[in-house]
Symmetry: C2
Subunit: 251 residues, 2 copies
């Protein structure tokens, strides 16, 4: 049995509380929130505190607050030498200070309050300063997810960059597709099966194997017709740069 205390009440904190509460080998001892009412649907009132000096004893303390607030919460902890982790993909482990034994417990998924998540499928990226703290963190992670990875701070930085390309930028390209449809009175829905299939394909093929389209076919006629069609200079620039990038990658 691993005992855990969650500090925070945002989307990630709430998804963690829910997942740990449903896990067999985890005891959610307490949660800390500046606005305890945000957690009333998840925990009994006597398990929620807004007083950081009233924190109970636990094996692991998980700080799941906005990136800018992590350092302040860590600095306010009224104890030392305990295992304290944050859940941020883009924040170094060092912001947790030196009073406690530090780690990272980063769930690599996009969480919305409105949408349930199959936590068993969420990759959890773990890091600890001291190797002897890894087993407890790993045990905690395995109790809620089947996808547990030991990821160094430098790797986590790389992973965050990769996620920006493969998710944030991808969503922006969906948006450009939607705009082109809208401007031509085409329902965006017509593109969605192709979008889903494009994402599904890379579960069995590498992106290199899955690449299709005029760029990789070096179909210069179609590329030129597309560039003639696109009036917006910014879109022209994106089209040209990504076409070149595909062709350089597949040379």
């Amino acid at each position: 049995m691993v005992s855990v205390i969650i500090l925070g009440s945002g989307n990630v904190a709430q998804h963690l509380i829910r997942a740990f509460s449903n896990a067999d080998n985890v005891a959610v001892v307490q949660a800390y929130a500046r606005h305890p009412e945000k957690l009333h649907h998840l925990l009994p009132e006597d398990k929620i505190t807004d007083n950081i000096n009233a924190l109970a004893q636990a094996d692991v303390y998980i700080i799941s607050v906005s990136d800018n607030a992590i350092a302040d919460v860590a600095a306010a902890l009224p104890f030392k030498d305990r295992l304290v982790v944050h859940t941020s993909g883009s924040t170094g482990i060092d912001v947790l200070g030196t009073a406690n034994r530090n780690g990272v417990f980063y769930p690599l998924q996009t969480f919305s309050s409105a949408k349930a998540v199959h936590f068993k499928e969420v990759p959890l990226c773990l890091e600890t300063v001291r190797a002897e703290d890894m087993p407890a963190l790993k045990s905690l992670a395995h109790s809620v997810s089947e996808k547990v990875y030991h990821i160094t701070g430098a790797q986590r930085q790389a992973l965050h960059v990769a996620a920006v390309f493969s998710c944030n930028f991808v969503n922006h390209l969906y948006g450009i597709g939607a705009t082109v449809c809208e401007e031509n009175n085409i329902p965006f829905n017509i593109l969605k099966p192709l979008i889903q299939e494009t994402a599904a394909k890379i579960t069995t093929l590498s992106p290199t194997e899955a690449q299709t389209g005029p760029a990789v076919r070096k179909d210069t006629q179609t590329i030129q017709r597309h560039l003639d069609f696109i009036k917006d200079e910014r879109l022209k620039e994106i089209y040209t740069l990504l076409t070149q990038s595909i062709q350089q990658t597949h040379e």
Copy 2:
């Protein structure tokens, strides 16, 4: 009952033959292929011809060959005034010539020979030169798919551009994510749940609502850290351009 003849033996032609053969109200009268053996697993031998002058009578002739070959196949047809359509997203209807009544039957999906497709979910984009030819084409389309759209030639061009952004370019960004992972000894698998969730999100949210990440948050510190991290000049350029584009879109 609509009778149909398929000309071609590639991926799209094969998926069409399979879908029409399974449909209640369609008779696949014949297929034409320069290499008939490519279709032996789909049709009895006496229904396959490699002689374009031996084509039988049918309500609709579907030319499903590579874009560059459509005009030649259409010009070689030994009849006139019949309904002849092609299946290309990026080819004008006019390449079909003037001897026959022309149309387009464009399935907007990425077809691989190795992967089955739920044809009922494939959007079919229809165009005909003469309005009176649309009902027959629509009836044929509805017999295999629930998603049938009347799309003009200009709209089809726009749709093809939108698909390049939302699918071909998206796959390239998956590839960049995979490369960044690989260079840092991170399994690309770790990103896949997030990639799937990003695609799933836009089935219920608009891409504008679904946008997350440092660009839309205007998190200049994280953006700068990412640009410092990226060494490859081409990736830096893509990162910068797409970050600017997100910020302009969400101004």
